[in-house]
Amino acid sequence: MTQAATLRDRAGTFGLSTEEFDLLVTRIGREPNALEAAIVGAMWSEHCGYKNSRPLFRHFPTTGPQVLQGPGENAGVVDIGDGWGVAFKMESHNHPSAVEPVQGAATGVGGILRDIFAMGARPFAVLDSLRFGNPDSPRTRFLLNGVVEGIAHYGNAIGVPTVGGEVTFHPSYQENPLVNVMALGLLRHEDLAKGTMGEVGNTIVYVGSKTGRDGLGGAVFASADLSNASQADRPAVQVGDPFMEKLLLEATLEAIQAGVVAGVQDMGAAGLVSSTCEMAYRAGLGITMDLDLVPTREDGMVPMELCLSESQERMILVPVPGKEQELLNLLAKWELDVVTIGQVEAHTNYRLTWRGEVVCDLPVDLLNEAPKYTREGIESEEIRAKRERDLSGVPVPGDLGAVLTDLLAHPTIASKRPIYQRFDHQVMTNTVVVPGAADAAVMRVKGSGMGVAATSDCNPRFVYLDPYAGAAAAVAEAARNLACVGATPLAITDNLNFGNPHRPEVYYQLERAVHGIADACRALNTPVTGGNVSLYNQYTEGDERVAIHPTPTIGMVGVLPDVTKRATMDLKGAGHTLYLIGEHADSIGASQYLETVHGLEAGHVPTLDLTREQAVIDAALHLIRAGLTDTAHDCAEGGLAVALSEMAIAGNTGLTVTLNAPTTTRADALLYGEAHARILIATPDEAGTEAALNAQGVPFTRLGTTGGDTVTIALPGHHIHLSVTLSALTHAFTTPLAEILG
């Protein structure tokens, strides 16, 4: 047996198909060695090479006057005015968190923070979008506690506030939780840094932790299905050190601001190889690196390990020519390992030497241009049938008040305070709107009057039942959430969490979701500035392959020109008038109510009218900025009645509303149905608000008034009058998460 034949047979262990291996042989005109095959496997993995998803990305709008940096760099950057920019990105750490939740989540935070400060931005907020399985199961409890501990361990120590996010529960995530972390950083325009090697003759500087054997093959691991064997992959999970990262953060920012850095990138997935390889590609140049110079944590490490280790807290810096010593001196202050390990060359190859021999010599282009696969998607018949299911036979419950407390107590809806109080959400003294107080977090920008708002959103049930409309709805909800705090939506990052794209029904979901995001982003003027793809989120249960609900998490950033003109969800006192901007829901399709109360995941998702969505957003922003309201809340899971209750609980103030809706609409749809383009507001100024809303030309309804110690909702036409005490609602809302955390 020749060595090449052996390698070809083992292509799968490098994450390559035999076709891909053959393609590699053809492209380089020779047989690769094992190191080269492994490097190609990592670079062509979904995590690094996006081979299944990249062909779809061309649909995304990526430009606009607000975009300072679009996709392709470590993070996107938007202009917020006054010379300030916000770098932001979301990334997943799903597979590591499934195997080792504490370190999986912790290094998820660490990794995304490095992407932000690699742009020259000081990280100033983190949001976590977390999805778990059945809330009653011991595994969920284990995973939730571990993930929360991991985020707290890393985020609290490094001193970046965790300001928001989502935590939801659904059986499809039972074995495969989702941990998506979004980070934002603030920078002056002139400090914007890039991940490039710059020009020929530049040196390549390694800084940060030593390289160990942890996280080996993480990119390939993240691009395969989870199985019991994954437990044996535990060495593929990296271990994080927030203290080291804090030093790296300060050192990197100091170096960038000192003007001595020509290029910078963190070593994330596929470690040393992907960072240097991508930087070389952006520069259109080759490099040579001496692997003997890589600082190691243990003796006897071989090139494969040196190249692909995903040890945390490591960066590549390329000094400005002539400023090499200045950079090294500056890094020495932070007592970091600093080594010059290579240089930029006039050739176009990625060349590595070890013990005096060339051990890898591959074209930079080849490594960075993974083969692209456009697959054929076919909708699952089973899901289509669920969507088309006739819901007219679903009975309206007799006690609609009990439904309200049941929904508020559902872990997906219930208060997440027991979680976020474990996160330092105020360090850096910028957090104006804290977690749980509103639909988005708001941070002030010191030295300006502005605020930055951020949210992460996705309703996976919608995406499951209708990938196009559901993904578009995630964008719309994110924009609406920003409007509810008084922020103009600017741009998004997306984290596309899907199952195995080789399955036509999964590829269908991915393809349709991408189109939905693209169209909604176009309509709402929120370009895509970057993101992350996590495929193969599925596991085997018995003989069945269980894919997660498709979950394209949308992270959106917006700006408040004047941070004092903002809103939160809590009612601010009695005697105010409540309005619904937008229209009542008319269906129970795809609702949390239908799932929680009737055990059905079925029906059509709510119709999305993006023109109306924009009008409702504009109206809310107008009211907040005109000082007509400081109280706004989006209607999401649980519909109108749950949203009103959340406002009452947050403000410890009751309310009384009357829904004069036609009796042709079911009472449970009016109360708990989910519809888009709806925002609830409370105002002390009825006349001013109605005049403003009329001038804005959006439909609105006066619902009732605030005050008292109950949430009372009357539907006179339906002969329904439900009234629940505030204390009962508060109890239902605030106890479940503490119980799950244990």
């Binding site: 120590a157 203290f243 105020q426 360090v427 850096m428 003294t429 002030r444 941070v563």
Partner: protein, 223 residues
């Protein structure tokens, strides 16, 4: 009031401390790096900020307490200069012997970030003169190791001498006697777990921490 904010590797409330000091005490307040041997000429207040100095290795505050700059801080305190240690800064003060006692893990073993109510127990110190005795103020906490402990004799002495200046109304972490903040015997060194520097602007939810900085200004004038 000339203010020096000490920066240890791993400090993460250093920027917040500097921001509050510049806003309320000294436009020219500056950072001092842990390897420095001395404080800037004329330093009146040393602010030891919160964070995870040296990554909390060994014990919170233990390594920072032995850093070069702490010799200068001790000398400053011995001269009667003001020292304010918040959160990790409090831990550094107990580790360096400038304040008695120790801070161990919170009662429920979890990090806790939320606003708490504090009762001002002694208004006769340089840090609390602007408050009224018994006043309840709202200041955020953010720590995993804020559970104050000292031996019974020390606790008795602290209580007897009026060195307990802030007490939790609703104890969040298991601290003995609900202790949130104490001063040294001379009253010129204050250590507290809650973050007054996070409560000096209405925009961020509470201005109740301002009184501490106003007190220091007043103390300097009357000195």
């Amino acid at each position: 009031m000339k203010t020096a904010v000490i920066q240890f590797p791993g400090s993460n409330c250093d920027g917040d401390a500097l921001h509050a000091a510049q806003l309320l005490l000294d436009q020219d307040a500056q950072f001092v790096w842990h390897t420095e041997a001395g404080l800037p000429q004329g330093t009146e207040l040393v602010f030891l900020p919160g964070g995870f100095s040296y990554g909390d290795h060994l014990r919170s505050g233990a390594i920072a307490a032995r850093s070069p700059i702490m010799q200068a801080v001790k000398a400053h305190a011995e001269r009667g200069g003001y020292v304010l240690g918040v959160c990790n800064g409090f831990q550094v003060l107990t580790e360096s012997g400038l304040l008695p006692g120790a801070l161990s893990r919170n009662r429920d073993l979890h990090f806790l970030c939320r606003p708490v109510h504090l009762r001002v127990e002694n208004t006769g110190t340089a840090f609390t003169g602007a408050y009224t005795k018994g006043q309840v103020i709202e200041v955020p906490i953010a720590h995993g190791e804020g559970n104050y402990y000292a031996d019974p004799e020390t606790i008795a002495r602290l209580e007897g001498e009026g060195q307990v200046v802030f007490r939790y109304v609703d104890n969040p972490n298991g601290s003995l006697n609900d202790i949130a903040g104490i001063v040294s015997e001379r009253g010129n060194v204050l250590g507290m777990m809650p973050h007054p520097e996070r409560a000096v602007e209405a925009l961020l939810g509470s201005e109740d921490g301002r009184g501490l900085f106003d007190s220091l200004k007043g103390a300097l004038v009357s000195r």
